[in-house]
């Protein structure tokens, strides 16, 4: 176990999986010579050479399609999008090609590819560079959607994603790359589809993922000083959703707040709330409340941006509501 950054944890996972399996390669903009726009691929070109660490032109649709084609004939591409904002150009390849190939071919052709890169807002990058798209991809049968929050989960889930036989949408947090945490060395694999309790509690469940895990943990810390024990449940995978973990926690706390970075309409939280009301209606002591980003394109102004994002103050207000506290 060593303490490393989220970025280096991803780097470890890539390196180890490429050492383990010669069919794994990394392709994307600036992944090679430049060492990665966010330095996730630092050192990999030297170790694996240009056939396995492939710099592409700025052509998201094109290289996503190249990844799908290579995966259809048995390679295991890891396709890096510099950010998921740019991947909008490649959505057709992800939705119409990657997600549907196995079904359309009646199981003959799979697409064992990982599409990865940072999602969500960073700081003052404005409307076109500050978007959380996990709910879009989670809508699509045939895709898996993974959103690690910690360095250990980043490594363990990326290893699982690369070994997975289906297309995996792997959304990293732009603001998480520099965060540090303990990460097991070598073989550390976190299964896709399992949520994780990041802090135990019995008064209220805070469901979160990716960057909102840190928001929820800060909130729980503040609530603890006030005598409220919040349970922080990190979904880790959006699809397949670990409904069992959500329901188990809600059965314990009877109150729930969902915290997410996306917009409110048809977001990840809407799916979580639907599951809870269907499966655990009688367990609830209060309606479930969602804390999301404001329903606006992200503004550039620092203060406006801050008020658009989910933060501990908004989560505490929501917790007070579900606890019927002033």
């Amino acid at each position: 176990m060593s303490t490393i950054t989220y970025r280096d944890a991803l780097n470890q996972a890539l390196r180890e999986e490429m050492q383990r399996d010669p069919s794994v390669f990394l392709m994307g903009e600036e992944v090679g010579v430049y060492q990665g726009a966010y330095k996730v691929s630092r050192g990999l070109l030297d170790e694996f050479g240009p056939m396995r660490i492939v710099d592409t032109p700025i052509t998201e649709l094109g290289f996503a399609g190249v990844g799908v084609g290579a995966a259809m004939v048995g390679l295991r591409p890891v396709i890096e999008f510099m950010t998921w904002n740019f991947a909008l150009l490649a959505v057709d390849q992800l939705v119409n090609s990657a997600a549907k190939m196995r079904y359309m071919s009646n199981g003959q052709i799979g697409v064992p590819a990982v599409f990865r890169g940072p999602g969500g807002a960073a700081l003052q990058l404005a409307a076109q560079h500050s978007q959380a798209f996990e709910s879009w991809y989670a809508h699509i049968p045939g895709l898996k959607v993974v959103t690690p929050a910690t360095p250990a989960d980043a490594k363990g889930l990326l290893k699982s994603a690369i070994r997975d036989d289906d297309p995996v949408i792997f959304i990293e947090g732009e603001m998480l790359y520099n965060t540090k945490g303990e990460v097991p060395e070598g073989e550390h694999v976190v299964p896709i589809g399992r949520a994780d309790i990041k802090r135990e509690g019995h008064d209220v469940t805070l469901v979160c993922h990716s960057k909102t895990v840190s928001v929820a943990l800060k909130t729980a810390e503040q609530l603890a000083q006030d005598g409220v024990a919040a349970e922080v449940l990190d979904l880790r995978t959006i699809r397949p959703l670990d409904t069992e973990a959500v329901l188990t926690s809600v059965a314990k706390t009877h109150r729930c707040v969902v915290v997410e970075e996306g917009w409110p309409f048809a977001g990840v939280g809407a799916q979580v709330v639907d599951t809870i009301q269907r499966e655990a209606f009688d367990e609830l002591d209060a309606p479930v409340i969602r804390v999301t980003s404001a329903d606006v394109p992200m503004p550039y102004n620092k203060q406006l941006e801050k008020s658009a994002k989910a933060d501990p103050a908004k989560v505490i207000a929501a917790v007070n509501q579900v606890l019927y506290r002033e």
Partner: protein
Amino acid sequence: MAESTAARPKSKSKGLDAARADEYRRWLRQMLLIRRFEEKAGEAYSLGKIGGFCHLYIGQEAVAVGSLGALGPDDYIVCSYREHGHALARGMSSRVVMAELFGKAAGCSGGKGGSMHLFDASLGFLGGHGIVGAHIPLATGMAFAAKYRETDQVAVCYFGEAAVNNGAFHEALNMAALWKLPAIYLCENNRYGMGTALERASALYDISERACSYDMVNEVVDGQDVLVMNAAMERAVQRARKDKLPTLLEVRTYRFMGHSMSDPIHGHYRTKEEVEDQRKRDPISVWSQRLIEDAIMDSDAVRAMDKEVLEEVDDAYQFADQAPDPEPGELFTHVYASPSNPPE
């Protein structure tokens, strides 16, 4: 009015090689099979036995037959949604293709793909794809895989001329040329993207010239002459396999039917006279006459071959008609590799 397919390409069949007589006869049989199969599919569509969209290949048979005849068994093939002919020419049985059109369990995609999504992984036939141009990068990816693994495989992508105005075409060809991939981009220029003539959609009339943007070898091919098509494809395959370089082939052909079964043969976008003029260069007549002239076959043999093909197509129709639907549980299979993941 659009000029005739015969006018542009200058290439012409040379004398037939008697040593290839079996191959020549096989081409005619494949073209006849595609023609008769498509006629039957049109009939079945009218009877409501085939649903959805159904894009017939009538008029373009020599393109699939001549080009696929130049490939090896391990090569990869990716097609657009007008791919019944390619599936048959690659060696898929008329039964499994017709059964797929009927949506039956015995179909090549289990009845879950339909007319636009024919697959046979064992033949390297990696799909009919339904989004115009989107499958072109897939072929680039397969060619990349061949280079990555250091095999001598070739990836071939078939698409219509309307797809070249799509960004996917440009992105895919640029990378193939940049990385020197063994890919062949075969543009079947049948003149119309649905009802929009090439000259109303593309600033450049000669699609082959687009390859110059990528410093890629290109060739204009007469797609109504199966021998010319085959020879051009052999050159492209050689270039891919031996020289590891991609090629853009612009194949001039013509669709004798409407864009799909719901589109008339002629209408607002082309005249009856134009279609009739083009039908004078029916690829099957061109080739059968050639075989008769060169004494590879006589007209009785051609008629007998056609009769045999008609029987095969009738058999495929009966097979598809009588085959069972997929089991209801098939609705949920093959969404993911493992049925238990995701759990719901």
